[in-house]
Structures are given as structure tokens and as C-alpha cells.
């Protein structure tokens, strides 16, 4: 089949030497932006250390505020998710600040690449930050506050964490892009993000609660995983659909 098409002279040819240059593909652009983001983070250490430190401090605060040495079940799940959510708000607030202040947006808009590349790259950056945050925060939580051990439920917990992270990253990227070019961006970011992320907290906290219970860990109710999956899908598509409009000047 391929040979036949090649011999047909009227078939359009994808010869890179002849067609006019159209700029790099979206995947190349995503890779380049992602590398830039990670390099900036490695050199400035702006977001991830702050998020991790914030989460550990919050666990200490919960210990004193609740006056408990250890927690389990619903309470543990709630503390874990509220802490993760507030820590991720720190990263959401910082996500586009460098691009806004140092002309990253202008540079990106001048480049002949699809604008979705920025969305995907920022989404992956935020997802990466969240994963690193959880690598620090979840063991710290297990060490400081959680009563049952984490080892038995680790695989299922990682699954729920990843599913929720995708939702937080999708909504977070969109909200960050929306808030960064306003006068009150530090206020608007959390105000927009927190109500939008309520379904994620509902789904993730309810799904984690049986895993963190004292005694034998219960099974994860599938319904909450479905809610998280649906949320990821809806907001992923929505971010893809409307992100271009935030970059138009």
C-alpha cells in the first residue's frame, strides 16, 4: 500500500526539504518548554521546596490544632487532602509568574508553535511538582500523624493520588493562567481554585478514607474513582478548549 501511494505523483508529499518550514511540532515545543520549566525550578528552587515545607508544617499544625498524636480513617484522609490541596495552591500561584514578569508569554507568542503546547507543558510541570510534593508529604504524613502503616495500601494510594493530581493540575493550570494577568493574582488564584477543586477533595478524600482506616484496610469504592476520572476528563477537555483565549495579546 505504501509503495503505491509513493508512486502516485498527485499525492501530497511530506518531504521536509521541499515543504516550507512550519516551525517545530507541538511535541517538540512541549519538550522544550518542559525542559525550561524544570531547569528554572532546579536553579531557583521556588516552588517544590516551599510546597514540601508547607505540607510538613501543616501536619505539625494539625497535630497541635486537633491535639492528637495519631489519626486514622476519615480524619486522616481529610487532613492529608486539605494539606495537599493547600500546598498545591502555592505552586498554582507561582506557575505563570515568571512568564508574566520576564516576558515568557511574549516570547512564546512570537514562536511559531501551537499555543496548546504551553498548556500541556505547564500541566506536566504542575503534575511533576505535585508528584514530588507527594513523595515528600505522604511519607511525612505516615511518619508524623498516621496511625496505620502505609506499606499495605501504597499501590492503591498512589493510584488515587495520581488520578487526583491530574485533575488538580488541569484546573490549576487553567486558573493560574486566568489569575496571573490580573491585579490581584495572589488573591484570585486560591479563590478560584479552591471551589473548583471541591469535587476532587470529595472524591479523593472519600476514596482514601477506607485505605487509611485503623485495622484491616477496606476496599476503595469505585464510585469515587469514577468521579475523579470524569472530573479529569471534563476539565482536561475544557482547559484544552479555552486555554488559547487566555493567550491572545
Amino acid at each position: 500500500m505504501t509503495g503505491e501511494r509513493d508512486s502516485d505523483p498527485s499525492a501530497p508529499r511530506e518531504d521536509p526539504a521541499r515543504t516550507p518550514r512550519r516551525g517545530p511540532s507541538t511535541a517538540t515545543a512541549v519538550g522544550a518548554i518542559l525542559r525550561k520549566e524544570l531547569r528554572v525550578e532546579l536553579r531557583t528552587l521556588e516552588s517544590v521546596p516551599a510546597m514540601s515545607l508547607f505540607s510538613v508544617t501543616t501536619f505539625v499544625l494539625f497535630h497541635f490544632a486537633l491535639n492528637r498524636d495519631s489519626v486514622s480513617g476519615d480524619l486522616a484522609s481529610g487532613i492529608l487532602w486539605v494539606t495537599l490541596l493547600f500546598s498545591s495552591v502555592l505552586a498554582i500561584n507561582r506557575l505563570f509568574v515568571a512568564d508574566e514578569e520576564q516576558g515568557g508569554f511574549d516570547g512564546f507568542l512570537l514562536a511559531p508553535v501551537d499555543r496548546t503546547a504551553l498548556l500541556i507543558a505547564k500541566f506536566l510541570t504542575l503534575l511533576g511538582f505535585l508528584v514530588v510534593l507527594e513523595i515528600v508529604a505522604v511519607p511525612a504524613f505516615g511518619l508524623l500523624l498516621l496511625e496505620p502503616s502505609l506499606g499495605r495500601v501504597l499501590v492503591r494510594l498512589v493510584g488515587i493520588l495520581l488520578l487526583a493530581d491530574v485533575g488538580i493540575a488541569a484546573v490549576g493550570t487553567l486558573v493560574a493562567a486566568l489569575a496571573v494577568r490580573t491585579r490581584a493574582r495572589d488573591l484570585l488564584g486560591p479563590l478560584l481554585a479552591l471551589p473548583l477543586l471541591v469535587p476532587v477533595v470529595i472524591g479523593a478524600a472519600r476514596a482514601c478514607a477506607p485505605l487509611l482506616g485503623a485495622g484491616h484496610p477496606g476496599s476503595v469504592p469505585v464510585r469515587w474513582l469514577e468521579i475523579l476520572g470524569l472530573y479529569d476528563l471534563v476539565f482536561g477537555l475544557l482547559a484544552y478548549a479555552v486555554f488559547d483565549f487566555l493567550l491572545e495579546d
Binding site: A179, R181, L188, L191, P195, L196, P199, R206, L246, D249
Partner: protein, 247 residues
């Protein structure tokens, strides 16, 4: 152009609202369980439904704005959301009063509709601050539209999540608002629903007319050379297309 038919619409709304309230107080039977306090249902539930529809409609109008780049769609979306926020305050107040009378508490967490409404209301409360903090009118309109679409899609998703969260402990039948009402109550409910819809449409038209008229006035003043400096205008409300509209 928005003022056309406004008088007839206002009179119809007033008549239907009065008729609906007459039905509520004189025709609908008293609830066997809750007595007179159940009458607040005929205000609270239509108001909540209309507010949610207004939020979703605002999202659809915002999508039209992004598609057509016509700033009038942005103004329509703004007015719809603005009115829905005002109705939302009413929903939370009446819901609270009803909860106090029938359950004994001002706020109940195991009523999923009330809780999801609160979350949506909190989200939409950031709509005005978002508009206020962007100065460039074109970008303000675009960003507000993105927000309205995002929040409009969030409305049904959030309802589902909260409802399921309650179902986990309290099984309940989905969508039983009008299904299990006796005949007279059902008709009264539909009349109140119609009245509330008309009220929303009328208020929406009034605000659109007022916005349109004031932008015309500003334009005429500017033509006379005595208008205020448009750059100094600081408002969350979108400006109408001042140059495009014919006098």
C-alpha cells in the same frame, strides 16, 4: 433595542407573580408534615433552579462571545451571571430559613442540593473580583468568558459529586422535585416556576436596556466633547459596543 416590549413583559411578570403567590397562599394545600412553613418551597426551589440555569446560560453566552467576538454576548453573559448571584443570595437565605423551621438548624450538611449550591455560589462570588482586577476591557471580557465557561461546566459536575457524596450514607431518589407532589401543589409549583422565569427575563432585559442606554448616553456626551474620560471608568461591568451601535 432592548427596551422593546419591556412594558408588556413587566406587566405579565407582575401578573404571573401575583397569581402564583395567590395560588401559593390560597389554593395549594398545606403540607401535612410541615404546615405553613412549606410554602417557602414555592419561592426557594424555583429561585434555585433559575439561578443555576442563569449560571449555565451565562456560560453558554460566554462561549458565544468567544466564538463571535461580539462584545454584546459578553454583556449578556455578565448580566445573567450578575442576576444569578443576586438570586443566589436569596436561595441561600430562604434555604436557611426553611432548614431552620423544618429541621431545626440554620445549616444542614446532609442536604446535597444546599451544599452544592453553596459551593457554586462561592465560586461565582469571584466573578466580579476577577472582572474588577483586569483593566483592559477587551481582555476583561475574554477572561470573564473563560471563567464563565469553566464555572458553567462545573455546575452540573459539582452537583453530581456532592449528591453522590451524600448518597453514600443516605440513599435517595434522583430528580424527585416535582414527581411526588400532589396535583394542586404541582400546579402551584409550576406557576411559581413560570413567575420566577419571567422575573429573571424581565430583570435581565431591564439591566441590558439600562446598560445600553447609559453607553449611548456616554457616546453622545463624548460627541459633544464633555464626556468623562472613558479610560478612567473603573467598573466590573462590560461596556457596550459604543462605536458600533447606531444612534
Amino acid at each position: 433595542m432592548y427596551g422593546k416590549g419591556l412594558r408588556a413583559l413587566s406587566i405579565t411578570t407582575a401578573l404571573v407573580m401575583t397569581g402564583a403567590f395567590a395560588l401559593v397562599f390560597f389554593w395549594a394545600p398545606e403540607d401535612a408534615d410541615q404546615g405553613f412553613s412549606q410554602k417557602i418551597f414555592y419561592v426557594h426551589v424555583p429561585m434555585a433552579i433559575i439561578a443555576l440555569c442563569g449560571f449555565v446560560a451565562g456560560g453558554v453566552m460566554a462561549a458565544m462571545h468567544l466564538r463571535t467576538r461580539d462584545s454584546r454576548w459578553d454583556m449578556r453573559s455578565y448580566v445573567a451571571i450578575h442576576l444569578s448571584i443576586i438570586l443566589g443570595v436569596g436561595v441561600l437565605l430562604t434555604g436557611s430559613i426553611w432548614a431552620r423551621v423544618s429541621w431545626g438548624h440554620w445549616w444542614v450538611w446532609n442536604e446535597p442540593t444546599l451544599v452544592s449550591f453553596l459551593i457554586i455560589f462561592l465560586l461565582y462570588c469571584t466573578y466580579q473580583p476577577l472582572r474588577f482586577s483586569i483593566q483592559d476591557p477587551e481582555r476583561q471580557a475574554r477572561y470573564a468568558s473563560v471563567f464563565a465557561i469553566m464555572a458553567g461546566a462545573f455546575v452540573p459536575l459539582n452537583f453530581m459529586a456532592v449528591r453522590l457524596a451524600q448518597q453514600y450514607t443516605h440513599p435517595r431518589v434522583l430528580g424527585n422535585i416535582a414527581g411526588n407532589l400532589p396535583g394542586r401543589m404541582e400546579w402551584t409549583f409550576f406557576a411559581s416556576m413560570l413567575g420566577m422565569t419571567l422575573l429573571f427575563v424581565t430583570l435581565w432585559k431591564y439591566e441590558m436596556t439600562s446598560k445600553h442606554a447609559s453607553s449611548q448616553l456616554r457616546r453622545l456626551k463624548r460627541l459633544l466633547g464633555e464626556g468623562e474620560n472613558p479610560a478612567g471608568r473603573r467598573s466590573a461591568a462590560p461596556a457596550a459596543a459604543e462605536t458600533a451601535a447606531p444612534v
